[in-house]
């Protein structure tokens, strides 16, 4: 069976595996545009690798890149809803799918952020004058380093003294026991 427009396939790989879809368009040697549609079989309208599809013996009569509503009607005409064991979605689900909700909200947010960024840039210019002051700090760090070295030298001197004391203490104890 070939992967022509209107062929019904099962997805084999990915999270939509085991679900039916329809081929809408051939994009490439390796890729194909498919749709469930999403309301019917939970397969989104998307590009799909040919190796991730297993063609069935059923076909549907549609044009290339047909809309989801048209594909739904074609399913019913071919009588495939009962053959494939699919449930027809209710009218409420269909209405919600047709509304483009999220696109409007996304456009508003980036505009507000851009205005804030421009305001931030102006105070940054005076900061560039302050930066040379920050560069001086590493100089102060260099002065601290010799102070650390001194401390280490002091510790090294103490250690050998302690060991000598311990040795002296231990020796007399042993003598007493003997």
């Amino acid at each position: 069976m070939t992967l022509e427009i209107g062929r019904i396939c099962m997805k084999i790989a990915g999270r939509e595996a085991g679900k039916y879809c329809v081929i809408l368009k051939k994009m490439d040697d390796n890729f194909v545009l498919i749709t469930g549609p999403n309301i019917l079989t939970q397969v989104k309208r998307r590009r799909c690798n040919v190796e991730h599809l297993e063609p069935t013996s059923f076909t549907v009569k549609i044009d290339a890149e047909a809309s989801d509503a048209v594909v739904m009607g074609a399913y019913e005409k071919a009588g495939l809803l009962t053959k494939l064991g699919l449930r027809k979605p209710g009218p409420e689900v269909v209405k919600e799918a047709e509304k483009p909700k999220k696109e409007v909200k996304k456009e508003e947010k980036p505009k507000e952020e851009k205005v804030e960024k421009k305001e931030e840039k102006k105070p940054e210019a005076p900061k560039s004058e302050e930066k040379p002051k920050e560069e001086k700090k590493p100089m102060s760090l260099k002065i601290k380093i010799p102070s650390f070295r001194k401390k280490k030298e002091v510790k090294e001197e103490k250690k050998p003294e302690k060991k000598e004391e311990k040795k002296e203490k231990k020796k007399p104890e042993k003598k007493k026991k003997k």
């Binding site: 084999i12 595996a17 053959k83």
Partner: protein
């Protein structure tokens, strides 16, 4: 004396020298074996090797692949199953 649960020799131990120059045994937590495919017995990808109590703390999407039979069959065996279902069962109808 350590906890009675750690006294089996199956728990991995490691000798560690402390800053106070003592030798101390550190006990490693036991890891379960890797999850395997129910058909081909190969180790599965995407299923972490952690104790069941740790597994509960993970989000569900990190416990197994989000595919039907995910966490039970490998991707190849699942693929063959779907192909079979299309070729055999559908065409009898």
């Amino acid at each position: 004396m350590v906890k009675p649960m750690l006294r089996t020799r199956s728990v991995k131990r490691k000798l560690v020298r402390t800053p106070g120059n003592r030798l101390v045994t550190h006990y490693k937590e036991e890891k379960p074996g890797a999850a395997k495919c129910a058909i081909c017995k190969k180790p599965l990808h995407g299923v972490p090797r952690v104790i069941t109590s740790e597994m509960r703390k993970l989000p569900k999407s990190q416990r197994r692949p989000e595919r039907p039979y995910g966490g039970h069959l490998c991707s190849q065996c699942a693929r063959n199953l779907f192909k079979k279902s299309v070729r055999e069962i559908l065409e009898k109808k």
